[in-house]
């Protein structure tokens, strides 16, 4: 019989998707008041596991016990009923509705036949006071900063009487301070007896807040350990299965002339907010400039402005000797700028196009791929065959639609397309996000090779590890401004963390 002391006891959960064993007989236990870390790389099966717990996926094998009795969880409604709450990585909030409306929806207080919003707001205010999660019940959700939206999500679960809280990568979108606040909220909640499953791949957070940690690798359960006594290194080894090389080998940079100069650049987002506020910096040939910063501090808008996709409001951008402040994406690309976009599904790949077509997306109109306005399919195929070979893209054929490749291989298609031409400047935005370890290493080597060839490389990454292992020089962006510019060897993790959080000097 199952342990009655445990809030949750999952045994032998297995989930298969066509061609993939996403979870292979995974065990997980959670006690009241405990914070359990769920650690694993992208694609290790963390999300699949919690989706099974929450009834979004149905396990192919295995059983779930809650407080000692077997739980039948066929859909999220059942999980909520049983006292589970989940904060999804992508918030499940209705933007135009108010905080209170979002929280009480599905279990609304009523007065007669009408929805009693006033009472709902009172309940939410009371709840947020009880758990120390301050938020205005009347505020419209989409107007709130991300950290507060996340609070609304947590309150939503608590409103439904959740005893088990599942947090799916909650810190990915937070600033360091917001992260700290969240970790404190988790400790407070645990103190009231709530059990928390905390998914992350950031080792520091695991060490900071969890009691125990369950590690997954390639869909398999590799161990559950007490956090006490664990170190970053020991956890990393469990997670990756080998000791991790944090820095890749590269020669000293042989830096040349400035290739990209940005002077006092100001850029607005779609809603008219100025997100890049007077950024100035240079990237010289033969160096990798790392742009560090928490996401949402203007990096995306900066890259969009540099590549001509978003108009600059003010300031000047020069590539080589040419002023490209107002140039179109095509003009900029033709000068010799490669661009690896941040969101490859959205911006980098046309899903139904073949690998071959995706590989000429930046050159389809030029010889040898087009003559007299007519596309030349033989040349396009030949190009694709060559690049698939050279960049080690795992694809059944060059006619395979781009969308059916894995994340890492999609990224390799983009890297192949962008780096197969000799460029002056390479702009790479989050180039290894959601990519498997093998591909990360490959992509990193390609970027270093570009630098060694003499190109200027601008690397934007939210992963400090990536910045540290690649960059020769580092700038930090905070609220649209460049708040630091330093050689990589002078930078420390602590210092960058402070700068990213907006601490002055």
């Amino acid at each position: 019989m199952a342990d009655q002391q445990l809030l949750l006891d999952a045994r032998g959960l297995t989930k298969r998707f066509p061609g993939v064993l996403a979870n292979d007989s995974v065990d997980l236990q959670l006690a009241p008041g405990e914070i359990l870390g769920l650690l694993g790389e992208n694609g290790a099966g963390k999300s699949t596991l919690v989706k099974m717990l929450f009834g979004i996926y149905k396990p192919d094998e295995g059983e779930i016990f809650m407080k000692g009795s077997k739980a039948e969880i066929d859909e999220p409604g059942d999980a909520i009923e049983l006292g589970m709450g989940m904060v999804h990585q992508h918030f499940q909030l209705v933007g135009p509705l108010s905080v209170a409306e979002n929280i009480v929806m599905g279990a609304e207080p009523k007065r007669g036949m009408f929805f009693d919003l006033t009472k709902g707001e009172e309940q939410v205010a009371e709840l947020s006071q009880r758990f120390g999660l301050a938020v205005d019940p009347k505020a419209i959700v989409e107007d709130l900063p991300v950290g507060l939206q996340q609070r609304v999500e947590i309150l939503k679960a608590l409103y439904r009487g959740a005893e088990i809280l599942i947090l799916d990568e909650p810190t990915a979108v937070l600033t360091p301070q917001e992260t700290d606040e969240l970790l404190q909220v988790m400790r407070d909640l645990a103190a009231t007896g709530v059990g928390i499953i905390f998914i992350t791949h950031k080792l520091r957070e695991i060490l900071a807040v969890t009691d125990r940690v369950t590690v997954l690798r390639d869909g398999k359960w590799v161990g559950t350990e007490s956090t006490e006594g664990a170190t970053q290194e020991s956890l990393a080894e469990l997670m990756v299965g080998r000791s991790v090389v944090l820095r890749i080998d590269k020669d000293d940079a042989s830096v040349g002339e400035p290739v990209l100069s940005v002077h006092d650049l100001r850029v607005r987002d779609d809603r008219g907010h100025e997100l890049v506020r007077g950024a100035s910096f240079e990237v010289r040939s033969g160096e990798i400039l790392g742009v560090a910063g928490v996401e949402g501090n203007g990096q995306r808008e900066l890259v969009e402005a540099l590549t001509g996709i978003r108009p600059a409001n003010q300031g000047k951008v020069t590539i080589g000797t040419q002023d490209v402040t107002k140039a179109s994406p095509r003009t900029i690309a033709e000068i010799g700028v490669a661009h690896i976009p941040e969101d490859r599904e959205k911006d980098g790949i046309v899903g139904v196009y073949s690998v071959a077509d995706n590989m000429v997306l930046n050159q389809y109109f030029k010889a040898p791929f087009a003559k007299g306005g007519q596309r030349q399919f033989a040349a396009i195929a030949e190009n694709a065959e060559r690049l698939v070979e050279q960049y080690d893209v795992a694809t059944p054929s060059i006619k395979t639609p781009g969308k059916s490749l894995s994340g890492g291989n999609k990224q390799k298609v983009i890297v192949a397309r962008e780096l197969s031409i000799e460029n002056k400047l390479v702009i790479a935005s989050q180039p290894t996000r959601g990519v498997d370890v093998g591909s990360i290493e490959f992509i990193h080597k390609q970027l270093v090779a570009e630098r060694d060839r003499g190109a200027a490389v601008l690397l934007v990454s939210a992963e400090l590890d990536e910045i540290f292992s690649l960059a020769d020089r580092i700038i930090v962006m905070y609220e649209g401004e460049v708040v630091a510019d330093m050689p990589a060897e002078d930078a420390t993790r602590e210092q960058l963390g402070l700068l990213m959080a907006g601490a002055t000097d």
């Binding site: 999804h88 918030f91 279990a107 979108v173 996401e295």
Partner: protein, 345 residues
């Protein structure tokens, strides 16, 4: 939602476009008062005709609004109106043939017409929710089918009993307002009650909260236990009933079915919905405005007051719609999930 952005202050443009319909409605009211002092009988006629013309647009727009608020774009309103007019007419006509009392045959007709359109609503929900068909195509199927079917099945020469005019005792004696507002067929009153009803339901009931949620972010509603698919079905049936009433309004004023009698009203209703910014009261303003143009057109034509070809008047509602959408279109944000089927994970 994943990027950290500070509170948005509404831009001036958004504010203007929010109050634009109301400002126009107000201006129209002053124009009426002015016209009253000039020629009160004609102004009354135009006023009453405005209300009559606005009513079907109102109901058609409410049909579109409920659908789109729930996440389903409906361009089949035109077909729903036509089909319900035909079915309602046939039911009334046949039951009158069977010598049922007039009231009964009229009521049966309304029930028949509303049921037919509600059934089409169910069909569209099936297409959009269960078959995940493109919603524009589903609406197009309805439009082609309705025009084809009603023309195919229609036999000339049938008649049905006339709808009575209900005057509201006391109120209908009032100057101007009495004739304009309180001397109409029963369904016209119903149309205006529907606006108020939908407004209250949408913003004051749990149904409304959940409806707004499934049109914006069905995933969020789903995770708190709202059955998105079921609710979309239910709402499309309710919406269909609204369009059915719109169809019956056409029968109320014409007392007979004729080929393609909806004549674009379902499409104008769509424009009314957009113009009214997906809000029942906004829709009321927009419908009255377009109704006013329709009424003015026929009155001026009748008077031969201006030497403007009637075709140009016919263009007004459509050109106005395009102009309004081109100017204010970006500010009127449609429900985020409208048009896409909800894929459960």
């Amino acid at each position: 939602m994943t990027t950290a952005t500070a509170t948005t202050s509404p831009t001036v443009k958004a504010t203007i476009s929010k109050y634009l319909p109301w400002a126009i409605a107000l201006a129209v009211m002053f124009a009426i008062l002015f016209a009253m002092s000039w020629d009160s009988r004609q102004t009354e006629a135009v006023g009453a005709a405005t209300v009559r013309a606005a009513a079907p647009l109102l109901l058609g727009a409410l049909c579109g609004l409920i659908g789109e608020r729930s996440g389903i774009i409906n361009i089949g309103i035109e077909g729903q109106i036509l089909l319900s007019a035909y079915c309602g007419f046939m039911v009334s006509s046949l039951s009158a043939d069977a010598s049922l009392p007039t009231v009964i045959s009229l009521i049966l007709g309304v029930v028949g017409g509303v049921a037919a359109s509600a059934l089409v609503g169910f069909f569209m929900a099936w297409c959009a929710v269960s078959l995940k068909m493109d919603q524009i195509i589903a609406g197009t199927v309805v439009n082609i089918f309705a025009l084809g079917f009603t023309s195919y099945a229609y036999v000339q020469g049938r008649t049905q009993p006339r709808y009575p005019n209900w005057t509201v005792p006391g109120l209908s004696e009032l100057p101007f307002v009495g004739d304009v507002l309180f001397n109409h067929g029963p369904l016209t009153y119903l149309a205006f009650f529907c606006v108020v009803g939908v407004h209250i339901a949408l913003f004051r009931t749990t149904w409304g909260l959940r409806t707004r949620a499934i049109g914006e972010h069905p995933g969020a509603a789903d995770t708190v236990g709202v059955d998105v698919a079921r609710m979309r079905y239910k709402n499309m049936i309710i919406a269909g009933a609204m369009a059915g009433l719109a169809g019956m309004l056409l029968i109320q004023s014409a007392s007979a079915f004729s080929r393609n009698m909806s004549n674009g009203k379902g499409f104008i209703a769509l424009a009314v919905m957009l113009f009214g910014r997906y809000r029942p009261l906004g829709v009321l303003g927009a419908a009255l405005l377009l109704g006013f143009f329709t009424a003015l057109q026929s009155q001026l034509q009748f008077n031969q007051a201006f030497d403007i070809p009637p075709q140009f008047f016919g263009m007004i509602p459509f050109l106005l719609t395009i102009a309004v959408l081109a100017v204010a279109g970006l500010a009127a944000r449609p429900p985020a999930a409208a048009g896409s089927p909800y894929e459960k994970e």
